[in-house]
Every structure is written in structure tokens, then in C-alpha cells.
Amino acid sequence: MGSRGDWKKLLPTALPGAAWLVAFMLLPSLFVFYASFLQRGANGWISGPLTLSNYLRFLGLDGESFDPLYLKILWRSLLLGGVTTAVVVLLGYPFAFFIALSKRKNLLLLLVVLPFWTNFLIRVYAWIVIFQRRGVLNAFLASVGFNPLHLYPSWTAVYVATVYTYLPFLILPLYASVEKIDWTLLEAAYDLGAGRLRGFFHAILPQTIAGLVSGVMLVFIPAVGTFVISDLLGAGKTVLIGNVIQQQFGSSRDWAFGSAAAFVLMAVVLLGLWIYARWAGEKGLEDLL
């Protein structure tokens, strides 16, 4: 897409998508950003004057003493996102290779995509059926002579369900990279004296970075903002930043504070991704991203 002529030719194809993004992404975001500096109005709407109080409240600086309630919730969400991403990478990375090298690629890919054929909420409810006191898991444990586990509601359940939910989002883009791997590069690395481990890190991993990076983003961003999983499997006892934002726009009717919380979350996630991209760039991988 070097010359200006190309740009003009591409304009008609880019226009519908761009218009969509401006109308339903950029303008609402600007509105939310504006709203985060307003206050809760009389009938649960928003009204002026402009203020920083929503952000101060989120940072715990609005009261007499420092109260990191929301910062703790944000931290919990980032931890959930980070741990989920790490576990998903550990499970999904080898699995993407397993699919790509298998003779039954299509069947395995179908199995990865199969959960999407069922509604997301139903899949989360299914975890309740598994984890609840008289659920499937405890019935199994009882049958082999173990004591029941109290996993519903719990953080463990939230973590398990989050990993389960986002695993395919890592496997699919990664698989696309793994399938295109030029394996002669591994042979070249062996030929030049690299053992198995160094062969993998120098010849194979760099070829999968593009898929890994997009997979990590597809997992981390929604995992940090999740609220349905913690709502259902934590039964309201596991509060995440997603739950806070949802409450402000729902039952609490404080759109201004909800907007501020949403923007803090967005800023933190973007900052994280920016650092991540910088790191990947330093590794000499920028043009693979």
C-alpha cells in the first residue's frame, strides 16, 4: 500500500468499516470519556459541572483516608486476566502444534470451535452444574471415596471457567501461524549446531509470534473485563472491574462513575499492550506483529 493511488483505490472498500467504527466505536467512546467528567444527575442521568471526582473516587482519594477498594478490584481483574492468559498459553501453545501436526486436523479444529455452537451463558451455567455442592464433580469424587469440594461459589470456579472460555481464542490464531511454519528452518538450526531447545526458540517460536501475540490479546483483554463468569460462578462474592462497571450502568445508575471506571480499565489495558508491543519490538519481531 505504498503509493497514494493505492490509498484512493482502497477508500471505497475501507469506507463502510470505517464509518461503522466511527459511529459505534469512536463516538460512543468519546461520549463515555466526556461522561466520566460529569456527575450523577437527579433522575440517574448525568449532569455537569465538569469534575475529577469520579477518578479520585476510583483511586480511593475522595474520602478522609486512602481507600483502595476499586484499585484492589482492578488488581484482581488484571490478575485474573494475567493468570488466565498464562494458563491458556501453556495449554494452547502445545495444542496448536498437536492440531497442526495431526492427521485429523479438521476434526480437532471442529472440537475447538464446537463450544461456540452453544450459548455462552449456558456454558457458564454448565460449570455451576459441575461445581455445585451436589454437582457432577462432587458426585464423582464421592464415588471414588473423596470428600466433596466447595467450589461453588469460589474464585477457583471463576478461574477455571475463564480459562475454559478463552482457550479457543488463543488456539485458533496460533494454529494459523503454526500451520504455516517452515520446518526447514528447524533443520537449518540443527545443522548449525542448535539442540532441540535452542532450535525451538530460534527457529520455531519466532515463526509463531504473530499468532501468539494476537491470541494473547484476544484472551487478555476480554478476560480482564469479564463480569458474567464472576457473577454466575462467584455468586456476587467475586467482584471484578467488569462487575463494578456493569453495576454503575445498571443497578447503581451512576453512569459518570461507571464511565470513569471503564476508562481507567481501558487505559491500563492499553498501557499493558503498549509495553507488550514495545517488548516484542525490541526482540526484533515488530514486523511479525
Binding site: 538450526a189 540443527y190 545443522d191 549446531g193 515463526q207
Partner: protein
Amino acid sequence: MEQHKLFKGKRARTPRGEVVVEVSGVRKRFDGGTQALDGVTLQVMAGEFFSLLGPSGCGKTTLLRILAGFENPDEGVVRINGQDMRSVPPYRRPLNLVFQNYALFPHMNVYDNIAFGLRMKRLPASEIGSRISWVLDLVDIAGLEKRRPDELSGGQKQRVALARALVNEPDVLLLDEPLGALDYKLRKQLQVELMNLQEELGLTFIYVTHDQEEALVMSDRLAVMRHGKIEQLDFPEAVYERPTTRFVAQFLGASNLIPAAALDESRTTTPLGDLAVKEALAPGRRYTLSIRPEKLRLHRTRPPRANVVPVRVDDIIYTGAENQYLLDAGPLELIAYTLNADIQEPGFEEFDYDENVFAELPPENLVAIDG
């Protein structure tokens, strides 16, 4: 050309003329059931330019991959410098491979690609630097260090791939059709450069190619392979002048093949009449006589010599340097090449379509192949 210090010590380790690579009785069958190698035995001497030549599927690349350690033979032994390679992984073998499609690391620049092998050996950075500047000069790519592989031309990639292998000072350099992807002119130029390089370094090259001309031009010795077997292993001149199988006679250049039966030790009967040969034949045995098109001589008037066959000019193909005549010799078609030298002397004359002429098959140029 200047001898380089780095490889001088190398040469002492495997003195010229000694066996570096020894392959004996190697067989390899792939999962699909194809017999890729069917009992291959050969020896490569130190400092030799050795080629494996054959059509695709003949097993030459499989043999190279077995030498490199990427495949294991089902049967047979590979020794390098006398050491059995059976349990030696690719990364511990004293050889390097130049891959067919170069296999340069796309995420590394030229310098890092070349440095890769030295870094794997954990050499100090100063040594890496001096070796690389030597090899950059050697293959004439100084100044390209910061480029990425996708910013290089085909010829430049080829040089980088060569440098990446050479910088490790291998005992043997394996090359898998390294010039296959390049255009004709560049290929010719790099052939000469590779030969000079090999001679200068005194390094052993094992070169896989399907290009018979390339193999003839470059090799000290070559093995012609077919169906996983070696058909003939000899010097280029011997393989071309004295093919021992019909396949070799046809795969290297063109040949006129004439079925024959020996009448006595030096005379045969053929569909073209009786032909004399300069070989000791077994009377009664069946042979195929082979003669190269350029060895066949055409005359307007019958020369007073043996092995003259009347023919009619069927077709003339002008290829620039030579004229190729397709000749109707009755039961057989013959083909003859004459040099396009504008000399009106016997052997250089030009003939017309449908002209009746005489083809002379000199006995010393007729090669008798068994069967």
C-alpha cells in the same frame, strides 16, 4: 587466489586424498512404501567436489539428508572421518548444509544469520566478528550485514546461505541444488565462483543436482543415481564418454542407442547393419551401442571407412552454436550435431532437408552397454 588461514588448519585434519565420507550399504524406505535408497555405497575423498546427480525421486536428496542427520538409514552405515554417525545428531556432525531454498532465518538480519552457528558454539564475540568479516569478503557480500533476508535478491540469499555454512569451518559442505532457483546467467557465474571457492578452501563438497551440465562442469567425481541406486560413479569425462547403463547414456546429454548382438569380439549385428566397435565383446551377447550425436559424422559422399550408414535428413534444428540433424536411418532414427562454424570441410558441412547423406559411426566412439 589467497589461501585463508581459517581453513588451513582444517585441511590438516583430513588430509587431501583420504576418505572423509563413507557410505556403505545404505537403505531407506519411507512410510508410504517408497524405497528411497536401495543399497548405496560410496566414498568421498577430502578436498573433492563430489556430485550426486539424478532425476527427482532418485534418492539423491534423501542421501544428503541422511548425511546431514535429518533422516536415519534403515540399513547401512555412514562414517564421517571414520566415525560411525548412527547415534550422532545433526547438530554434532562436522558438516553443514546449504539448503535448497536457503532456509535463512527471516527474523534475523544477514549478520545474525551468519553468526548463528558460531553463537550456538558459544564462541567469543570477537572471534565471531573476525570470522564473519572473513566470510563476508569470501562470498562477496560485505555491506549487506544489516539487511533482512526478504530484502535480498536470489543470488544474495544464496551467498548468505553459503556464508552461514562456511563460517562454521565444516569438514564437509553439503549443497542441495543450491543454484536451482537462480536464472541461467547467474547460475553460470555462481558455478564458477563455487568451484573457485571449493578449490581455494580445499574443502570437501557434496553437491546434489539434477542438472547434468552443472554436474559435468563442477565435479571432480559424480554419482548418477536412479531409483535409489547408483547407476555409475566416476569422473565426469568417464561418465559422459563411457556410460555403463542406458539410463546414464540418455540422462547425461543425448545419445543414439542402437540395439546390437555381438558377432565376435569386435563386431556386432544391428538393425543398421554390421557395426565394428573398439571393445572386447562376448560373442552372442546382446548389447546396446551408444554414440553421442556430436561424435556421429555426416558426409555427402560415402567415406572409405567402416560403420557408414546411409540416412536421409528428416529435420534440422538450429540452436545457434550447432546444427542438430534428425536422421532417418530406416529402422531407427539417429541424431547428429555439427558445429555451426561456416567451414566447408568434411564434418562441418551443412545439409538440406530430405538430402540423402552418409552417417559415419566411428568404432572408437561406439560404447557397448550390456543388455
